[in-house]
């Protein structure tokens, strides 16, 4: 027997760690520091190229790792319609080097995409019940896919309310859509701002006050809350005060992410990996951890 053994070539990097090339199809500003862009899979023109990536089907609440060439990656929630298999839509706030780079891209420019990753908002569990979506600031984009899914089969849900808190009137996202949602008779949309301008005719105050007044039956309702951690904590507690069960309130957590697939260790929040066990959690599962500083 030949003492030299035959070894199969050892596996190379899998798709989960390597960005798929997409291109920016359209982009527009939502506010002074927030933009939305629509991505489509790039056609790879090399002769030995693998077949074009399809916009991977995603569930509401999931995120992609978006790669800015040579700069880095950021986890960004998908904010488009899960039923749309052609376009990948993300709403991004420019807060650092990678998001600023992405914000400067125009139609035709490349973006790398890894994902979709993470857990999803439990839209199916809300069928037959009242549903309240509570969004604070940049927390509205990750909830928009829920609204799209719900409106596509509206008759399956009870009362549906969207409560949106923004900093100022000029810093609201999806303004046109909000207007059209507001005009629907089968949707309660309440918007409040922290600071009003003279022309603002709507509510003023923190979004927790909208939770107190929300037109839902708390006993059977499901709530989905998204925004800065402190805002989610107070909004969730307000929902519990109204009688919504803590297993039926869901929040979307955020932590530092490098891989997005549960291997780099950065996103640990207590014993869970936010990229894999989250980002969507029942509030009951994170309530105690949220009370501990620096977890």
């Amino acid at each position: 027997m030949d003492s030299r053994c035959e070894f199969a070539p050892i596996a190379a990097m899998s798709a989960a760690m390597v960005p798929r090339p997409y291109v920016v199809a359209r982009r527009w500003n939502e506010t002074a520091d927030t933009f939305t862009f629509e991505l489509r899979p790039a056609r790879d023109v090399r002769p030995d190229a693998p077949p074009a990536a399809t916009a991977a089907a995603f569930r509401p609440g999931q995120f992609n790792m978006l790669y800015a060439f040579g700069v880095g990656e950021v986890p960004i929630s998908i904010s488009g319609d899960p039923a749309d298999g052609e376009r990948l839509i993300h709403t991004v706030r420019t807060v650092g080097a990678v998001t600023r780079y992405l914000g400067a891209l125009g139609p035709g420019d490349p973006v790398g995409v890894r994902g979709p990753f993470g857990s999803a908002w439990p839209v199916d569990d809300a069928e037959g019940r009242d549903l309240v979506l509570v969004a604070g600031g940049i927390g509205l984009p990750p909830l928009r896919p829920v609204l799209y899914q719900v409106l596509a089969r509206r008759e399956r849900f009870g009362r549906v309310a969207l409560l949106y808190g923004a900093r100022r009137p000029a810093e609201m996202v999806f303004v046109d859509e909000l207007r059209s949602w507001r005009s629907r008779l089968d949707l309660d949309v309440e918007v409040t701002v922290d600071r009003a301008t003279e022309s603002w005719k709507g509510s003023v105050g923190f979004v927790t006050t909208l939770v107190r007044r929300a037109p839902i039956d708390p006993a059977e309702a499901i709530a989905m809350v998204c925004g800065p951690e402190l805002m989610m904590r107070f909004a969730a507690l307000e929902l519990l005060k109204r009688g919504v069960a803590d297993r039926r309130v869901h929040v979307s957590m955020e932590r530092n992410m490098k891989c997005g697939v549960g291997l780099c260790g950065h996103c640990q929040f207590g014993p869970s990996f936010v990229c894999r066990d989250g980002p969507v959690y029942p509030f009951a599962d994170v309530k105690d951890l949220l009370q501990v500083a620096e977890v």
């Binding site: 520091d33 807060v95 900093r167 003023v204 105050g205 800065p228 107070f234």
Partner: protein
């Protein structure tokens, strides 16, 4: 009419848990009011001798700084209590309140209730607990507003 008022009161969270006698007394201090959009409900500096439980419509809490237009700080809606300055010295309004839409509310005679509370500490304690809770909730919400959580990270 009194019975209706008492029934209304016992359904409101701010009066929940009070006994019938207490509710009857408070009901006796209350009357229904209505404001049109734009009406001033109370103004900064005026004697604070009333409070309201809002039954419909939106109210804006505002302050007019020197020379400028009114700055809206907060809005209140159905089911919320408007006004606590009747309970604490100097018993004058610290802000303006204006109806943003047609507003229906139940108004209560604050100075009458205050006198009663001085003589009936039991009722006084019950009302103080409830209004302290309202002030605490408003303070928490105001703090969250102040934190400017949606602002750019520092």
């Amino acid at each position: 009419m009194m019975r209706d008022m008492t029934a209304l009161l016992s359904a409101s969270p701010v009066f929940a848990g009070l006994d019938t006698d207490q509710l009857d007394f408070i009901a006796g201090c209350g009357w229904n009011v209505h404001f049109n959009a734009g009406d001033t409900i109370f103004k900064f500096g005026e004697p604070a001798d009333r409070f309201f439980v809002l039954r419909g419509g939106d109210v804006s809490i505002e302050i007019r700084l020197a020379g400028g237009p009114a700055r809206r700080i907060e809005t209140l809606g159905e089911g919320e209590v408007l006004g606590w300055s009747w309970l604490f010295p100097p018993y004058t309004w610290q802000f303006d309140a204006r109806a943003m839409s047609g507003v229906r509310a139940t108004a209560f005679d604050g100075s009458c209730l205050r006198d009663k509370c001085e003589n009936d500490p039991g009722l006084g304690y019950e009302l103080m607990k409830r209004f302290a809770g309202i002030v605490a909730t408003r303070l928490q919400a105001t703090r969250l507003q102040l934190l400017d959580l949606y602002g750019q990270p520092l």
